[in-house]
């Protein structure tokens, strides 16, 4: 589109364009111009302003509520993100979220919790990535740019939480909003395609015990920020000082 002008449009130029549109219909070029304008006005809408560092998306997982044997979050994640493939060696399967059962050998206390990408403020995967494919958005969501991921899996080695997976098979059943494919490393995205629309991640929505809470850690009025301010929460391997976006209770 042309830049805005101070003066009124040149009437001579305008009549020339009109004539060109009338006579150029056979060429199929100028005739498109009026239609183009209409589409641009209707489709332009307003692209979203994008991720902002005013927010930091985070998750609070209450392991006291999390039921052992329940994998609703894992199933919801697989369904939402189109993780349908199965490998002979299950250890090689993609796993964006997994259930972990813990038992204290002394007291016998057992509890269960989901582990996913912790969306670190200082992500080791981003540090080690040789191509810049591992990246952190301004709002704290850690992602893989598959356009430039070369599948070296260095990030998988660097991640202390085993959060990342490598796609071994050719895929055909992807969710159109969640592109993923062979030869790239991938991990939980906090369902970024849903978060950008104002929705909750699929696992949070699916949890029957309401053990998972998603929200903006930087907004002091958000439920997650208030609970973290008032209740004791834990970061996994807090000794690494990675400043995690995912917090746990009851572990």
């Amino acid at each position: 589109m042309s830049a805005p002008h101070d003066k009124a449009p040149d009437s001579g130029r305008r009549s020339f364009i009109g004539a060109a549109a009338a006579t150029g219909a056979g060429l199929g070029v100028a005739a498109l111009a009026p239609g183009l304008q209409l589409i641009e006005v209707s489709a332009a809408g307003a692209p979203s302003t994008g991720a902002s560092s005013d927010k930091r998306w985070g998750m609070l997982i209450d392991s006291n509520k999390c039921a052992s044997g329940c994998d609703a979050c894992v199933k919801a994640c697989n369904r939402e993100n189109g993780i349908t493939e199965t490998l002979q060696d299950v250890r090689q399967s993609s796993q964006w979220i997994r259930k972990v059962d813990l038992k204290d050998p002394k007291s016998g206390r057992e509890h269960s919790l989901p582990v996913l990408c912790q969306h670190c403020a200082k992500p080791t995967c981003v540090d080690v990535c040789p191509t810049g494919a591992s990246m952190k958005r301004a709002d704290g969501i850690v992602l893989v740019d598959r356009h430039i991921c070369i599948g070296c899996r260095y990030c998988m080695m660097a991640c202390p939480y085993k959060a990342r997976s490598f796609v071994h098979l050719t895929l055909t059943e992807q969710n159109p909003e969640v592109p993923r494919g062979q030869g790239c490393v991938e991990a939980c995205t906090f369902c970024v395609h849903r978060v950008d629309k104002g929705q909750q991640p699929a696992c949070v929505e699916a949890c029957p015990e309401r053990a998972m809470l998603f929200g903006d850690l930087k907004d002091p009025h958000s439920e997650i920020a208030q609970r973290i301010a008032q209740e004791a929460t834990t970061q996994l391997r807090s000794d690494l000082k990675l400043d995690l976006g995912v917090r746990y209770q009851g572990i």
Binding site: G50, R137, P176, P179, G181, C184
Partner: protein, 125 residues
């Protein structure tokens, strides 16, 4: 010399007839006149538009821009196969003709999500 010339012209005639027989891509436009830019511009620059948008969408989280691969797919997927790939598929037909192999489809879903023809151009998330 004369023999060489005859041979050369025979070759050129043959070559000419072969090139004349190369089929042009038969691209079917399912929803004509609704694209985000004139056909000539899209033909020349669609890859640039998509490349810039993909970076903004992924890295900055800017969504709803006019150019989007899902926008292309939802509008241009074949009404019979639901896909932009396959023989006669909107993307594959031209890419085969131009002998380019973009690797979009390793990760991106080539089938339209919504029932084809019920979407507006360019505004898909």
């Amino acid at each position: 010399m004369k023999r060489t010339l005859v041979g050369l012209s025979a070759f050129l005639l043959l070559a000419g007839s072969v090139y004349a027989g190369t089929p042009k891509p038969a691209v079917k436009i399912e929803n004509p006149g609704q694209c985000i830019a004139p056909a000539a511009e899209m033909r020349a620059n669609h890859m640039e538009k998509l490349k810039h948008t993909r970076t903004r969408t992924l890295r900055q989280g800017i969504r709803g821009e006019a150019a989007s691969l899902n926008g292309c797919i939802n509008c241009h997927a074949s009404k019979t196969t639901g896909s932009v790939l396959g023989p006669g598929g909107f993307c594959q037909e031209c890419h085969s003709y131009a002998a380019v192999s973009p690797d979009c489809w390793i990760c991106h879903q080539p089938k339209a999500k919504q029932p084809v023809g019920q979407t507006t151009a360019g505004v898909q998330q």
